[in-house]
Every structure is written in C-alpha cells, then in structure tokens.
C-alpha cells in the first residue's frame, strides 16, 4: 500500500459570499521512500495540499490515507498524534521557539510523544549531530544564522523518526549557497530512504526532486512525465 493516498480530494473555503475551491478533485499517490516536489504558483493550492498531506487540516470531500490511516475525518487529537509520530515539518520561516535553545527546540516533538527526559536529550543530541550543529547546541535561535536555524528545524523534523518529511519553501529565506546546502541535506535524507515532500514555487528547486507534482488552480496538471497516477514507481535518485 502506498504511504500517501489521496482520492478525489476537494477543499473549499468560504470567504464572505464567495466560495473558493482551493483543491478541486485531487488524486495522488506517494510511495514510501519517494522524494517529490509539489510545485505551483502562489494561490495554486499547493500549501492547502501540503496541509492536508501533513494532517494539519482535513478535506471538505474525498479521502486522505496516510500510512494506512484514513485521516479525512479524524479527530483533532488523532491528527495531532499523526503529526507527532509520522510527520516532520520544515517551514520557510524556520518556526523555532525563540526562548528555547537548539536542543530544547529539537526535543519539542518528543515532549508530546511522552519520551523520558533522558531519552529526549540523547535523541536530540543525535539529531543535532546529524545536521552538524553540535557546537551550537546551547545557543538560542536568535544567535544562529538562517542556514543554521533551518538545520535545527530539520533536526526537529527528524527527531521522532517520521515516515514523511514535509518542507514548505525550505530555502525561501536563505541565500542561494545556504539554500543549496539545505537541499543537499534533503537529498542525503532521501538517499537514506526517507520520504520527502518539498513544496515550492521555484522550478529550479523542484528539479532537485526526482518527481514533480505540478498544481494549478487546485488541480494536478502534470505528474512526473510519462507516469500515470497510481502506477508510479520512484526513479533512481539523481545526484
């Protein structure tokens, strides 16, 4: 079974009198270990799609199945558990807690999992080491550069060993060199077998991912060339 499965998913918002169809009949399957980029201009619905995939929101109609769990009509608590155990987020604006140091930020997801203090610390240290920031472990985010902050955010996303990592414009607030190093990190994670979904408006960044899911006006217009929905198999990662 696919890791992520979307069937005829729609998402509508009401803004005053007007109804906005943010997503309009999406069918999508993402397999375990895939590295996919969701690309589209602003307002295309790519963020809404990511929210649905990331269990931050539920669809108006249709079915979303993540790792065998139908989350289309899951309770708030169940969604929180999914986010906690199976999903890691990396945001454009890093979203680190300013009052906490690097290790404490990385420990955050494990607090809600109920991991013991000792294990939290050990796993946070391992994750921070993985992104190469052990020398800044006791610093607060304000004392870090943008690239370092994004590495901390990635460490936080990985610390609970999630099935999928979602990255929403992860290089948007970074200069090109730093951005490239962050993308390199994602490629390495992908090579280690982690499922990664990258959301971006930049075609060049999307090129990093072997699979491209283009979205326009709430519809998927072009899946990776030559493949049809549901029968896609991941191509070998390009270095």
């Amino acid at each position: 079974m696919a890791l992520i499965e979307l069937r005829e998913v729609t998402k509508r918002y009401r803004v005053g009198e007007q109804e906005i169809r943010a997503l309009d009949g999406i069918d999508l399957t993402i397999e375990q270990g895939e590295y996919a980029a969701i690309i589209g201009p602003s307002g295309s619905g790519k963020s809404t799609l990511m929210h649905l995939l990331g269990c931050l929101d539920t669809p108006t109609t249709g079915k979303v199945v993540i790792d065998g769990v139908d989350v289309s009509s899951a309770t708030d608590g169940r969604l929180a558990e999914m986010r906690n155990e199976k999903i890691g987020f990396v945001f454009q604006s890093f979203n680190l807690l300013g009052k906490f140091n690097v290790l404490e930020n990385v420990e955050l997801p494990m607090i809600y999992t109920g991991v013991s203090k000792k294990e939290r610390r050990d796993r946070a240290i391992a994750a921070v080491e993985r992104v190469g920031l052990m020398d800044r472990a006791k610093n607060t985010p304000l004392q870090l550069s943008g690239g370092q902050m994004q590495r901390v955010a990635i460490a936080r996303a990985l610390v609970n060993d999630p099935k999928i990592v979602f990255a929403d414009e992860p290089t948007g607030n970074l200069d090109s060199t730093t951005g490239a190093s962050i993308l390199q990190l994602f490629r390495e994670l992908s090579e280690q077998g982690r499922t990664i979904v990258l959301v971006t408006h930049d075609s060049e960044i999307a090129d990093n991912a072997p699979r491209r899911i283009e979205i326009r006006d709430g519809k998927i217009v072009n899946r990776a060339a030559g493949f049809q929905s549901g029968i896609h198999t991941p191509p070998p990662p390009t270095a």
């Binding site: 931050l56 708030d76 608590g77 809600y112």
Partner: protein, 439 residues
C-alpha cells in the same frame, strides 16, 4: 506532555517577562495581602477582646447591679434597702448554682508611702473577690475571714501600686510594710501577680522591652486597671467609710447599701440558673422592689464573636473583590500573551501537541501566576502586620492563623486557575494552520 514540563515552560514564560508578570500578579498580591491582613487584624482584635474578658472574670462572672425603680413602684422604692451584705450572705447560703460571691464597696482615695503618692480605687471585699475577678495572690496571702471578723487594717495590692509608690525599687515585694490609705496605716499582707498579655510576657521573659506600653490618656487598658488593684476587708472598709454619713454637721447614720455585688456561677452552662436563683432571693429581700438587674459577660462574649465574624466577612469580601479584579487582570494578560504567542502555539500543534496540551500549558501558566502572586501576597501581608504592630498601642496585635494563611493562599490559587480557563480554552481552539499562518 507531563505536568512537570508544563510547569517548567510556565515558569520560564513568566520569568522571561519579569516586569509584566509582576504587574499581572500585583492584583493577586494586593488581594492576598489585604485578605490575610484583614484576617490577622480581626483575629487580633477578637483575641484581645477574649483575653480581656477572661481577665475580667469570664462568662461565669455576673454583676448584680442597681437599676432605676420602675415608675409604678416609685412609692414602694423606700421599702427596699438596696443591695446589702445580708443579700450576699443569703446568696452564699441558698443559691446552689452560685459558687462564689462577694459584696464590695469602692472609693477613690490617696495612697501614700513616704513622699510617694498615688490616687487609686480601693475595694472593700470578701475573700471570694480574688477568684471571681481572676486575681492571683503571688506573694503573701489573701484576705481571710478572720481579717473580716476583726476588721483588720490589712491590704493586698497590685504590682503597679508598688511600681508607683516604690519608684526606687519597682520590683520590691514590700510584704509586712505599711501603706497609708486615706490617712490610715494598712499592713500589706499580699501582692498580686503581674498581669500582662502573652506577647508582653514573652517579651519580658526574653529580657526585651514590653511590646505593650501604656501611655497616659491613651486607650483603656484592662491590665493597667487590674495591676493597680488595692483590696481591703469589707468590714474594715465599712468602718472607715460607710459607718457614718455626715451631711453638714448631722450624722445620717451608716450606709448599708453596697457599691457592688458580684457572683460567679458554678460553670458557664448554669449562668442563667444562677441568675434566676439570685433574682428570686433578692426579690424577697428587696420586698418585691425591682431595683436590681444583672450584668453578664454572655452578651459581651457574643458580641465579640459577632463583631469578629462580621469584620472578617466584610474585610474578606472587599479583599476578595480585589482578588477577583486581580484574576481579571490575569485573564486579560493571558489573552494578550496568546495573541503574541500564536505562532508558538502553531509550532507546538504542528509537532504534535493536542488542543488539550495547549489548554494545560496556558492553565498551568495562569495557575503559576496565582501561586507566585499568592506567596508574594503572604509575604506582603506579613510585612503589613509587622508594620501595624508598630502603630497600634499593642492591646490588639494582629494574629496570623494557619487557617487564614491557607484560606488566602488557596483563594489566590483558585483565582489563578479560574482566570486561566477562558484564555486556555481560546488558545486550544485555534486551528494549527491558522496559528502557523501568522507572522
């Protein structure tokens, strides 16, 4: 998420905005401080009143006092001789719910010893006067029946009399020495104990200056009066002051009317029985003339408790209102802080916090504000009551009771919890994507 973690986060949040947190707590601090101070003051006043009442003989002590003869008995009034020693003797023989009785006379007279003078009330009494009025003869002895029978010129005096008349050695115990009362020498046969309240006793035993300082013309102090006591046998008093009544140049004869008649009931439960017995006895000896009544401490005791209760309630209500206002302050700041931290809430939700976790976090934070505010309030109240100790004359020092502390602190914590409920609920309702969209 465990409770300890919420607590740590809450404390960190409060600590990171020290001044703002302090302002938030101020309402609670002042509320708790005024609540506890009110309780301490009221308890102090009640304690002083109770102490005073006990010193004055407790609820068992009943004064038989004279009253105006009612209108319809005016023509009969002269048939009654008023309260006399015979009344006292009758009560002593016949009233079974009366354990002690003393008739008494009193007069304001000069006391002289060498060149020292003091004007004071002296009392002519029976030996029972001493236990009824909770006097204790510490040195020497009390007046005895023999003193009464022989009309001896002896007296028992209080410590303040010695202080005033023996200024060169205020701790003297001048037993057997002579004191001139209204020009007649009296032998000192007994000295009363020094009466003082607990605080003073403790201060004195520690060798410190007494907390209680009586200044002239300042408030009435039961201890001063009691320490200035001078008693002599009733018969001696009668021969000296009441055996003749010279108006102009004519002796009107002796005055048998007592200045006072005091009884003590066998126990507090039988005060009314004692009053009934004495009343029926005296109605006979007074030939039905209704010229006496009873002054009990029962009403005083009740009014003390009632006043204490009412003051407690009123003060508590006002302080309680200020605590509630403090709580509203907390709610307000918490709501503002949620708007400020909406992104943090979003991040926490994104990494797996359930709405319940957010609710707990905010609630714990407001509770911590209540707890810290409560503790600071208790400290402030302690300071305030110490300040009050300097300004009062000492008769009614504030008393901090454990129950008052627990009540004030408990109320502060409760306010902390209640004021956090609405902000916590608001914060927990924010959808994760809404929270993340901010900023």
């Amino acid at each position: 998420m465990n409770f300890a973690n919420s607590l740590a986060v809450g404390i960190r949040e409060i600590w990171s905005h020290k001044f703002r947190s302090f302002l938030t707590m101020l309402g609670v601090i002042l509320g708790v401080a005024s609540l506890l101070s009110t309780f301490a003051l009221t308890d102090g006043m009640a304690k002083a009143s109770r102490e005073y009442m006990t010193q004055m003989g407790g609820v068992e002590r009943v004064n038989v006092i004279a009253q105006e003869v009612p209108q319809e008995q005016l023509l009969l009034a002269d048939t009654s001789r008023g309260r006399t020693v015979e009344d006292a003797e009758l009560i002593q023989r016949a009233a079974k719910h009366v354990s002690l009785v003393t008739p008494w006379y009193t007069q304001f007279v000069p006391l002289v010893r060498k060149s020292e003078r003091l004007r004071a009330y002296i009392y002519g009494v029976w030996p029972d006067y001493v236990p009824i009025n909770r006097h204790t003869v510490e040195f020497g002895r009390n007046i005895t029946q023999t003193d009464l029978d022989e009309g001896r010129a002896v007296c028992v005096i209080g410590t303040r009399v010695i202080e005033q008349l023996w200024p060169e050695k205020p701790n003297a115990k001048p037993l057997g020495e002579t004191l001139t009362i209204n020009g007649k020498p009296f032998k000192i046969i007994g000295i009363f104990q020094l009466y003082e309240n607990e605080d003073n006793r403790i201060a004195r035993l520690k060798g410190k200056k007494p907390v209680l300082t009586t200044r002239k013309g300042k408030s009435y102090n039961p201890y001063t009066t009691k320490n200035t006591a001078v008693i002599i046998p009733l018969t001696t008093f009668y021969y000296e002051y009441r055996a003749a009544n010279i108006v102009g140049v004519v002796d009107q004869g002796p005055i048998p009317k007592l200045d006072g008649l005091t009884i003590q009931a066998t126990d507090p439960e039988h005060v009314q029985d004692a009053i009934d017995e004495v009343s029926s006895l005296l109605t006979q000896t007074h030939r039905g003339v209704d010229d006496f009544t009873f002054d009990t401490r029962q009403e005083l005791a009740e009014s003390i408790e009632k006043t204490a209760h009412n003051t407690r309630l009123t003060g508590g209500l006002i302080a309680g209102i200020s605590l509630i206002v403090g709580g509203i302050g907390i709610t307000n700041i918490m709501l503002a802080s949620i708007t400020e931290r909406i992104r943090e809430i979003g991040v926490r939700r994104a990494v797996g916090a359930k709405s319940g976790h957010i609710f707990t976090q905010i609630l714990v934070e407001s509770t911590v504000v209540g707890i810290i505010g409560g503790v600071l309030g208790l400290v402030a109240a302690l300071g305030m009551t110490h300040l009050i100790k300097f300004t009062t004359d000492g008769a009614s020092l504030p008393v901090i009771q454990t129950a008052s502390v627990a009540l004030s602190f408990g109320f502060a914590v409760l306010i902390g919890v209640l004021s956090g409920i609405y902000p916590a609920w608001t914060a927990s309702r924010i959808a994760p994507i809404e929270a993340l969209r901010y900023g």
